[in-house]
Symmetry: C2
Subunit: 185 residues, 2 copies
């Protein structure tokens, strides 16, 4: 039996990412986000929803670049901390002890402990009510060699990503099927 | 040791959804997608990336509504089938045996077997290279009573959602932490 409820927004679940940005003076920040998706494979681009008052949004408007860092389950505490605290009050790299590495192309810093990092240049900002969709073009990707298979692909369980839904962080259980198993008509 | 690779688009992992649409003549279609995210909670909205040549995109442009249906693991075969096949050749409701139900407000049909359905009115289309970001405003939500807790919240493991990455469908293992567990500064 279906029950009707009033409009709400809840795609179940969404992936947890850590976004690093910097301001013009070189101050770095880390933000945890889950409202994110791939946008284009043609000109590789990723989108993130960000509040208009967030420090990360201000940084991106100023310096027009950011990094999407994909954390594994080993960083749960840091993920949560960077989502619960504001960067205008504290230095999140310092507070978490996460290691910053210079990027290859842009000014934002990589989080060394995140096994995958996407360097992005701001492509466009789309206002969405009081938030914004930030679309970044991926200009360089970094991957830890120890999460890759011999063929150079990501070993999903070595990455061990985190997904988020209804204020809870979850882990992934198992690959249940390969795309295409149902056959084509 | 980090390895640099060329630009690619890969948020790990993304949620699997089934999108239902209809054309002006009342023909219904189902599309499987994973490039999706929440867009706004203020005016509840969801975004999906869709190829410009897809039947679902044409339908949405014509009739300006669609439904995001959230499938559970029990629908893996139907999920895969609706992702692998094109709606201009076959009737996917008929081929999969999925049950269509009239929506409350819009013309697209609910998939009865999906425990959650978001009725959406087209809010805007943003071209992204040869694809498009479709943003829909959620105007009604339907939930199966048997996936809800006594408090009316979604029981995540009764929903048992599917996530997707690198051509593989995955299931969710366990809640590993509650947001806020790291404390605030």
């Amino acid at each position: 039996m279906k029950k009707e409820i009033e409009p709400t927004t809840s795609i179940y679940p969404l992936p947890v990412i850590m976004v690093t940005t910097h301001d013009e003076k070189g101050n770095d920040n880390i933000m945890t986000a889950a409202w994110t998706t791939n946008i284009s494979s043609e000109r590789p681009s990723i989108g993130i929803i960000m509040g208009g008052n967030s420090l990360s949004f201000k940084n991106i408007k100023q310096t027009r670049d950011f990094i999407i860092n994909i954390p594994g389950q080993g960083l749960l505490k840091e993920i949560d901390f960077c989502g619960e605290n504001h960067g205008n009050k504290i230095d999140k790299f310092k507070e978490t002890g996460l290691t910053k590495i210079e990027a290859s192309i842009i000014g934002s810093k990589l989080i060394a402990e995140c096994p995958i990092n996407f360097e992005c240049r701001l492509r466009d900002i789309y206002p969405m009510d009081s938030a914004n969709l930030i679309v970044g073009e991926v200009v360089k990707v970094h991957m830890d060699e120890n999460i890759l298979t011999d063929e150079g692909k990501v070993d999903f369980f070595k990455l061990n990503p985190v997904v988020y839904s209804q204020k809870t962080y979850y882990s992934i259980k198992e690959g249940v099927a390969i795309r295409g198993f149902s056959g084509k008509k």
